[in-house]
Symmetry: D2
Subunit: 139 residues, 4 copies
């Protein structure tokens, strides 16, 4: 099972399906069962002090797994998140983008599971980790 | 241990600390170890089709537990979310606010745990549930 | 959609399917979309100091949701846990059984979600809470 | 911050503190912020069909993070699990041990976070993944 979409196709699909957020996320790398996504932080993602908010980190993890799944199964807007567990471990660095490394651990017929590690751009220490389950609609 | 803040004080504190989102959340009811919060849905919270987005549901759960904790310990901007587990169970109804019922299950010296059930305004079926842990700074 | 199994049928089914643990769990109450299950604590469930171990609490939550699902859909040994999030909030009381109150929040065609609150027998303060997702096999 | 305990010291400590389960777990590798632990599967860990049970997988993840934390901070029996999120992704292979690869993502003053990937011995596909938070007592 190989990649069904390119980075360009993924970004175009997200921009079309989620016009409000499409421009926030840039795919930096894509492979089978894995993706790296950058959150281009803007004012709306920040908390006082300039650090990325919890909901923005959730959104980054969510979109990263979504795109990793779509890249493998093709564009299916109807895949939906059913569960997310997220640990916030360190305060993100002020004024930095956030980078999500995502790996799919399972891509089944009806469920997909991905895990995501997030770091501030240029940093090493994990800011947050998340695992998400997506329900995949019957084809 | 009784309530340390009123609804008005809570909303004013949130508006001051999180100016970007303060107006999105309205406290509908407040008691010891529990709170009900309304997400006043606006365009920015929606996905195509008019339903509330996952990150907006996460934000509602997060702010509900935060306010329930603050109401009990007083205004401490430094309480931080360390973990959230959230299950998305049904699509929220288009064009409706989202109502979060939050209950604190633990309010310890260093950790607080709250759970949240979310329904579309006027509905009965749970749209999502979440449990969150907050780390409370030493006083 | 009403109950498909009685308490007696549930306990007999569990005893047959999970002979190693069947006798550990007693159904105390059963209704539509909810169940109360007692863990009859024995030496094997305990940690030094006489409190119930984490894995035993996990097992109680897991079996409670499993039985709540089976009671609604009928005996299907193949329903499997896909996800569990559990918060341990207080040390269980030594020498006490553990009581789990379980409620199903969703019972869909392919996924069921249940939440569980656990207290020491006779106590009020929650010892642990859990939410679990079960995948239901096609019929 | 280097390792404070050897594999032998860890196993001896676990055997003393948790006599019921001590022999079930073998440390296969230990490094700073990481550990590999084998669950030596016995009849008590199995479900019908010979696969490892959910509670046994939970126990393996829990003990792996516990030992990874102790190896870094020294023997402190009082570190307690506060949260675990676990995804069960594939049925473990019958008759095989289970191997847990654990990595600590955070080792703070009061909280530690670890993640664990579990595979059947000799296998590649992840059977389960877990993330756990431990609360560390003040020294």
């Amino acid at each position: 099972m190989g990649l069904q979409m390119t980075i360009e196709e993924l970004e175009a699909f997200i921009a079309e399906v989620f016009p409000q957020v499409g421009g926030d996320f840039v795919v930096e790398d894509l492979g089978e069962m894995r993706i790296r996504v950058r959150l281009v932080t803007a004012e709306k993602h920040l908390r006082p002090g300039g650090t990325v908010s919890g909901p923005s980190m959730f959104a980054l993890a969510d979109v990263a797994v979504y795109m990793a799944v779509l890249a493998m199964i093709g564009p299916q807007a109807l895949a939906v998140t059913t569960n997310c567990s997220i640990d916030f471990m360190r305060k993100p660095e002020a004024g930095k983008d956030l980078i999500a490394e995502c790996r799919l651990l399972k891509l089944g017929r009806v469920l997909a599971v991905g895990e995501v590690l997030m770091v501030s751009d240029g940093g090493e220490a994990p800011v947050a980790r998340a695992s998400l389950t997506y329900s995949i609609p019957p084809r």
